[in-house]
Symmetry: C2
Subunit: 404 residues, 2 copies
Amino acid sequence: MKRLLAISVVILTLGLGTAAAQQALQWGAAPLQSPQVNEDGTVTFRYSNPKAIKVQVTGDFLPTQKLEFEMNGQKMTYDAPGTADLKETKPGVWEYTTPFKVPSEMYNYTFVVDGTSQIDPLNMWVNRDVASLSSVLLVGGGVADDYFIHAVPHGTVSKVWYHSVAEGIDRRLTVYTPAGYETSPKVKYPVVYILHGIGGDEDAWVTQGRATQILDNLIASGKAKPMIAVFTNGNISQEAAPLENSMGYNVPTMSLPKTMEGSFESAFPEIVSFIDSRYRTVAKPASRAICGLSMGGFHSLYISANYPDMFSYVGLFSAAVGVSDASVSPIYQDRGAKLSKLFSRKPMYFIACGNTDFLFQANKDYMAELDKAGYPYEFMETDGGHIWRNWRKYLDAFLPKLFK
Amino acid sequence: MKRLLAISVVILTLGLGTAAAQQALQWGAAPLQSPQVNEDGTVTFRYSNPKAIKVQVTGDFLPTQKLEFEMNGQKMTYDAPGTADLKETKPGVWEYTTPFKVPSEMYNYTFVVDGTSQIDPLNMWVNRDVASLSSVLLVGGGVADDYFIHAVPHGTVSKVWYHSVAEGIDRRLTVYTPAGYETSPKVKYPVVYILHGIGGDEDAWVTQGRATQILDNLIASGKAKPMIAVFTNGNISQEAAPLENSMGYNVPTMSLPKTMEGSFESAFPEIVSFIDSRYRTVAKPASRAICGLSMGGFHSLYISANYPDMFSYVGLFSAAVGVSDASVSPIYQDRGAKLSKLFSRKPMYFIACGNTDFLFQANKDYMAELDKAGYPYEFMETDGGHIWRNWRKYLDAFLPKLFK
């Protein structure tokens, strides 16, 4: 038996004929580990490469650096992730330990080897964000505890296809049903629709967003009500995430047709109808919420305003609130009148934005508009910009407010 | 509107501050594409790195090379993936086009940059196999057409947790329900249980195995009956795949406790009971199949033999058939008598193995044992060894035989 195992391991190890495979396997000699959260709260990164001259790590766990860029002739600055040098501690083995305790958070990082970036080959946890891969570091003991998988009852996470009459294609959703859904056949559940940003898809909130872990943990602790969560794909011309469709979108791209021109918002009721027919939902506005980040916040604003009888809870996270062009679609016309109708239904309206977000001013302007009309809302201001760590926090704050 | 999009793209592009992110985005200038299946059937790989000295690609689309290795003092040879050199066609841009048409297949590859392997940073499709990441190349027009997503009705793919009484923990399954399952509430379905190999988990067959695409396509074309498929995690001490559990197994490893010592096989009925209670199944042996690759074939052999009234269909793919140690567990004892009981029920018994598989002789020996006892089975012999491309083919051949 042991013999077979040993042979299998060799075969599998050689499977790709790669150094990475051999290094990464925990068999026999202790392999390198990267990343490693140390007992003192620092984090160590390791990388094996005998021929590299300079190895760096860049990621949002490091202090940011101001970068300038020009856009339409305007100079703007951006808080880019910092970099740190790994040192060759043994021949071919590179290492960096943070000189500080890394606060609890979910981070993304890559190595930069002689100027070219790559993911950490020792870390199997890789997330795609739009068209970039990065390695993931999750540090517990604080805010990120809700992003971990704990030994609590877990919901079911499904990839589900619905037929879009508006587009004439089948399209994919991610659907979370809370623990107990399948074993409580008489219970009906409220539903939150959670929308991604530009370049994302129905996978984004469950990979980069850790939304199903957040739901599991909030529900298990009693902080949020058991609810169904639906993660839509807001690129309406696309069946599904880039590698999950039949349409040849095999390279992730932002230049998809029909992005932010009203079609997605206009066709949203067919998704709600599908969910209400497929799942045991409470099919009433008081049991429906919609929220989204960036473009998804923009979508949430217009979907809730155009269908004022659909949602009693609206969450706009770093939302693109100031930029609708009424000439593009009737969906974007008469916003004031539509908001008036929506707010006459007294929705819980939640706005969150980071104070260095490039959309911060637009959000302040939008809130001034709401103030002027006397519409109540909650505002959550955080540090930081247009980043996932904020969106996870906003979701974690928004979900406990729902369906109370 | 356009302005906002442009700014968002810059922000997202800078999101990781990495060269890869900027290269990979399809916005403005045409980005590098890799891999690219050309019209003449060749495939081009591209890689950007101004400081590299030698860049190679290694993968199973290239002719294999014989490698020797020693195991327990014995010299063995192994067919390792070949390598090919990329050439610097423009400063910093490396390229390789195969000098041959690449046959339809799903391939895994990595780049080797100055001796160190890394995944293709331009290819968002990354699969984890045990503790290795590799980039995926899918070439259609033949055998791999069943591995593509086509515009056919799609089943639902769910991550579902069950409680294991045997282990006292919640454990995760992947469950495929065929298109129409949710809309045909009176129809009951047969179930196939599909088991992974050592080092794998409940994700392996749906990532490396393309099993849900194979099911979608076989069912849509009428070649296979609509069926539920259950992908178990055969590492019974593990809740779920390495990054999906609360147990700290964050580095994939093969040295998990309780591997191939009877516990998983012995507790299998609790999974079947869970599925029969949770889903609309035909809960009879004639509507139950079990199959698996390598360790999963070993598991399938012993589960079907120990529970002869459970499955009418058994598939052993490159199975570890010759190695059970009866002293380890009662599950492995009296195999002859157990098989006699099983075969008296006249199961469809399917064995498949590649003729260069290190387990080929063991499978021949096992078939000789079946022949001697007069037990009927089907045998599918293929080229090649202990590799995913064979396991996908075996599944594609096995599923149409079920429930007829």
